[in-house]
Symmetry: C2
C-alpha cells in the first residue's frame, strides 16, 4: 500500500459511491481510497510512513507470524463483522503461541460494485478493533475484481508477535495426564452467524464471541509459564481442534460433556439448526492444555479476566494409542468425538 | 494453518479431483489438503511445526512487514503464474525497504470446483520460487468459497524482513539533484499477461519479468549504503510509481524517454494493445533513487547482477513545486507524465 501525501479534487463519496476497478488499479483513484479511508481510519505512525512496507523495531528473540483469510457470509453479524473478525482472528493466532502481537497487515479483495459505505463501516470496525487491542494495522493492499468474480469483500490479515523469553507453547506438547481447559462457552460465534444467515429470530439474540485474546493469554502465562498448548477452536469448533492437538501431540483425550460450558440459547439454536455445538466455530475462546500442577493457577487467571469468566476444566489427556478424543456423555456413556468429516458450516469465518 | 500428523485413508486425487467446500471446513478434508499438498510442497521446518503460527528467531533491529493480494487473470501466463508471482511480489515489497526477507505467509481463497491439478501446479510453483529465493512460506490458511463467489484462486502473501543496521530507505527521501535509475526494461510483465489474455500471438513471445529482487537489492546496498528510495513499479507502472515517490518526497522529476529501457517487442505489443508502456506493470524491476555521488556505484552494482544487466539512469529529481514528473521525449519536447487516472489494466497482479 502506497500512501503518497496529496490532495484529491473531490472527496470520496462514502455515502452513495461504489468500488470500481479503478480503486484497485494503482493510480489516482486507488491512492484516494487509501488516503481518505484506510490511512484515515487506521491512523497510526507506521502506516502513515506511506511506504509499501510497515517498519518497526524488534528486540532479539523468538517471533511468530500467522495469517488467516476471512470470507465470512454475511459480512455483518450479531456481535461483529468481517473487519473486527479479521483483526481478532489473526491476533488470536499470534497469541496462541504465547506471543505478544506487534502488528498486522491487511489485504483487501473487493468485488466491483461494493458499496463504499459498507467498506467504510468495515474499515472503521477494523480500526476500532485494532486500536482497542493495541495492535496496529501497519501495511495493506487493495485489489478489486470484476462484478461476479468475488463476493463483496474478502480480507486476509497476517500478524507478527514476539514470544516472551522462556515460553514454549506448541500443539505437540500435550502429555498424558495434562489438564484441558476452555476459556468460556462454546459455539457462540457460529450460531450467531448461522442464525443471521438463516434469518432465524430467537427470543434472546446470540452474539458472536469475536474478541482479541492476547491479554487473557498474557495473564495466563504470568500465572503459569509452563502452559503447553494454546489453540483457538475456530472452524470445526472444539471437536476438530482437540482432534488436531491429540494427533499432533500423540495423546488421547477424555472430556466430560457436562463440563463443557455451552449457553442454553446456543444449545437451543443448535437443535433448531441441526448443529452439534462441539463442531461450531468460536472466535473469542481458547483451549489450554497444561500440566496438572498448573491447572488451578491457569483456571484462576482465566476466571479473573473478563474474557475468561466462564472458563472451565473440561478433561484430561491420556495415553490412548489411537489418539481418540472421547467424551463422557451426560447420560453416563462414552462416545468418540471424531474429526469433522465434511463441511458443516461454510464461510463461518 | 494447522498441520496435525496423521494418515488419510485415500490420497488426494490431484489428477482429477476438485476443491470443494470441505477443503475449507476445518475438518479432515482440509487437514488432508494441507498435509498432502501444502506442507509437502513447501517442505520447511517452520511450517512443519504444525501450529497456527510459524516461529523463527530474530536479532534486535528494524523489521518491515508487507502484504499483497494476487488476483491476476489468467492464473498462468508466459514467464510465471499466480503462485510464483505471489512469492516474488511480496519478497520485493520487503526488499524495497533494503530489508533481508525472512519468511512469508500465504492465504488462499479458492473457488469451489477449482481443479486440484491447477492448485498443485500453483503450489509447486510457489514452493519453487520460495526455495530459489531462500525465503520460506512459514504459515498459511485456506478458505473455500462457493462456485460463482470467487474466480479460481486468490492468494494473499505477507512477508517480514530485517533492515540491515544503518540502512534507511523510504519513499519520502528523494531530494532535488538525486539520480533516478531503473534496473531493467519496463512493461514486460503487463504485456506478457495482456497478450495471453487477449490471445495475441506475437512472433517473439514476451515473458513476464516476475523475479525476486532481494539479492539485487543487497548488492546495491553493499555498493551504496546511502540509497534513498527503492520501489518496484508494479500496478500503474513506472509512471504511477514515480508520481507516488515525487508526491511523497515533495520533489519534481525529469526523465528522458530515450533513456528508459523498453524491449522493441514490448513497444510493438503496446502499440497493438493500445497501451502506454510507462503505465504497464513490472514484477521484477525496481526504481532506485540515490544521491549523485552514489549513482555510478549503484549502476555498476545493478549491471553486475543478472537481474540488473539492462539497468539505466533515466533521470533526476528537481525542485519543481508542483511535484510533476516530466519527460523529455524522443522528439525533443517535454510532456508531463501524469498519474494513471483510470483503470488501465485490471487484474494484472
Amino acid at each position: 500500500m502506497t500512501l503518497p501525501r496529496r490532495s484529491h479534487p473531490r472527496p470520496l463519496d462514502l455515502k452513495h459511491g461504489r468500488v470500481d476497478l479503478t480503486h484497485g488499479g494503482g493510480g489516482r483513484a486507488m491512492a484516494q481510497l487509501v488516503d481518505e479511508l484506510f490511512v484515515a481510519a487506521f491512523d497510526n505512525e507506521v502506516l502513515s510512513q506511506g511506504n509499501d512496507q510497515g517498519a518497526f523495531d524488534v528486540t532479539a528473540g523468538r517471533m511468530v507470524m500467522s495469517t488467516d483469510g476471512y470470507v465470512i457470509s454475511p459480512l455483518f453479524f450479531p456481535g461483529g463483522d468481517i473487519g473486527s473478525l479479521a483483526v481478532h482472528g489473526t491476533i488470536n493466532d499470534v497469541a496462541m503461541a504465547g506471543a505478544r502481537p506487534i502488528g498486522l497487515s491487511a489485504g483487501f479483495i473487493i468485488e466491483e460494485g461494493f458499496a463504499l459505505a459498507d467498506l467504510e463501516r468495515i474499515v472503521i470496525s477494523m480500526a476500532a478493533a485494532s486500536k482497542a487491542a493495541g495492535v496496529p494495522v501497519m501495511t495493506g493492499d487493495t485489489k478489486v475484481v470484476e462484478k461476479g468474480k468475488g463476493d463483496g469483500i474478502f480480507i486476509t490479515t497476517a500478524g507478527v508477535g514476539m514470544v516472551p523469553p522462556g515460553i514454549h507453547i506448541s500443539g505437540d506438547l500435550a502429555r498424558p495426564g495434562d489438564v484441558i481447559l476452555v476459556s468460556g462457552s462454546m459455539g457462540d460465534h457460529g450460531v450467531a452467524v448461522m442464525s443471521q444467515r438463516e434469518s432465524l429470530g430467537f427470543d434472546t439474540e446470540i452474539l458472536s464471541d469475536s474478541a482479541a485474546l492476547h491479554h487473557l493469554v498474557a495473564a495466563m502465562i504470568a500465572a503459569a509459564p509452563g502452559i503447553r498448548v494454546l489453540r483457538d477452536p475456530t472452524r470445526g469448533g472444539l471437536a476438530a481442534t482437540l482432534n488436531e492437538i491429540a494427533a499432533q501431540s500423540g495423546v488421547g483425550m477424555e472430556i466430560g460433556e457436562q463440563a463443557i460450558p455451552i449457553k442454553p440459547q446456543v444449545l437451543g439454536a443448535c437443535e433448531l439448526l441441526g448443529l452439534d455445538p462441539l463442531y461450531v466455530a468460536n472466535e473469542g475462546k481458547l483451549i489450554c492444555i497444561c500440566g496438572p500442577a498448573d491447572a488451578d493457577a491457569v483456571l484462576a487467571a482465566m476466571r479473573a479476566h473478563p474474557l475468561g469468566v466462564d472458563a472451565a476444566i473440561i478433561g484430561r489427556c491420556d495415553a490412548d494409542p489411537h489418539h481418540f478424543v472421547r467424551m463422557k456423555t451426560a447420560m453416563g456413556g462414552t462416545r468418540v468425538v471424531d474429526w469433522l468429516a465434511g463441511e458443516q458450516l461454510p464461510r463461518i469465518c
